[in-house]
């Protein structure tokens, strides 16, 4: 119980701002070591303090289903919305790769994405994908830290002209590229000899 109220408040405030996904109270508690871990009430009091402090600011701290997040106040939407409208910017390679992994491996945690890509995935990328509503938090993995599970959305399908693919088994089946590849291989092992003896496709030696 070592930390003073102001420090706890600052940590909670900073963490909610820094997290790409909404923060539940339990995850905010996880940021502290055991000896100084604040209780649930203490976190809630910090959140309430922060909410009052931001009463006059352009952003507000709100609670959504998966936790707390800062959000730009609605009254600024007409201006702030232009950030997206007027930027037909190219998607970075890092963003595309991150998105591809989420699309094919969903639901997936950030750590798993980093594991596949071999590099750290920046908060900005996750936040950009969330802002565009291409991905969403689909739940939490029940391991220490309860990391958010990321999945793609309908808007993602729309943006990539995949509308009709939403229900297609192939896209969903790629959930595990390794296993689908193995399955197919296994299927082919038996099927190949009899069914595809001299087909042009196989002759790619």
């Amino acid at each position: 119980m070592g930390l003073d109220r102001k420090l706890v408040r600052g940590i909670v405030e900073g963490a909610i701002f820094a997290s790409p996904v909404p923060m539940p109270v339990e995850e905010l508690q996880q940021l502290f070591v055991d000896s100084e871990k604040p209780g649930r009430q203490e976190i809630l009091r910090a959140i309430s303090d922060i909410q009052s402090a931001y009463a006059d600011r352009a952003v507000e701290l709100i609670e959504v289903s998966s936790g707390y997040r800062f959000q730009v106040r609605k009254q600024f939407a007409p201006w702030v919305g232009k950030l997206w409208e007027e930027k037909p910017q190219r998607l970075s390679r890092a963003l595309l790769e991150t998105l591809a992994i989420i699309a094919y491996r969903q639901p997936v945690t950030r750590a798993e994405i980093e594991n596949i890509r071999g590099v750290v995935v920046s908060t900005q990328i996750i936040r950009t994908l969330l802002d565009r509503d291409w991905i969403a938090v689909a739940g939490h993995r029940e391991v220490p830290g309860r990391p958010a599970l990321l999945a793609t959305t309908r808007q993602f399908l729309d943006a990539f002209s995949l509308k009709s693919l939403a229900e297609l088994p192939p896209l969903a089946a790629v959930r595990d590229m390794d296993s689908i590849a193995r399955d197919l291989e296994a299927q082919l092992a038996g099927a190949k000899q009899k069914e595809l003896p001299n087909e042009g496709l196989v002759s790619n030696e």
Partner: protein, 280 residues
Amino acid sequence: MANGVDSPGDLTAESDSDVVARVYGEALTELPEDLYIPPDALAVVLEAFEGPLDLLLYLIRKQNLDILDIPISRITDQYLAYIDLMQVLSVDLAAEYLLMAALLAEIKSRMLLPKPALSGDEEDDPRAELVRRLQEYERFKQAAEDLDALPLEGRDIFAALADAPLNIVVSEEPVFGDLPGLLDAMRDILRRADLRQSHVIASEGLTLEQRLREVIERLQDDTLVVFHELFSRQEGRMGVVVTFMAILELLKQKMISLVQESVFAPIYVRRQEPGESAWA
């Protein structure tokens, strides 16, 4: 390796050069005092050097020597002692360390000569060049530390972001990437994943474009083809994935469609008729 170079008549060698020379060539149970490193930590420490220049700088700084006034004989002996220890400890030794050892030995032997063999080509003095390189390296070593001391995003500071306001009207225009871009990225990822698993795959000549053509050709006669028949086991996982992406691409372009009687029934692929939905 200039093994066990003795230096009785060296001009710059100090008394401890004997110590180094004696220890050099011995087993590591008898570390010279001026190496200062506990034996069990030695391998770790040696691996921490960023190269021969870094190791030389360490030797020079450890003894509070002036980089401009290196007692070359002493430093050479110590350097060689380290190299020897590294080899005894089977530390994976980069070739650069051995090159530096040769250079030091050469400088040392030249300085042992009573007079320069040649006069008038001092700019060839390899020691001057070594000092220049050491100084240059030291500047950037320091710069690297300075850089590390700056507040780094993701380590010391974190971007503070807020979500877009609710009901924001984001342009409906799909200005962003397209499916091929996404697939390209996925292809790269898988390729890398395969490399990491040191999984050998014969993927020469396997391109998405080629596979698109092949799938189309396969469906030329408007036949119904079982989905998995489009894949070839011989091409390994990479081939499977490329074919899969070709199918996705053709679906997106509405050039093919998929047919399935029921949820777990086999999937068939067929050429798309204009106006048809991709999923029948």
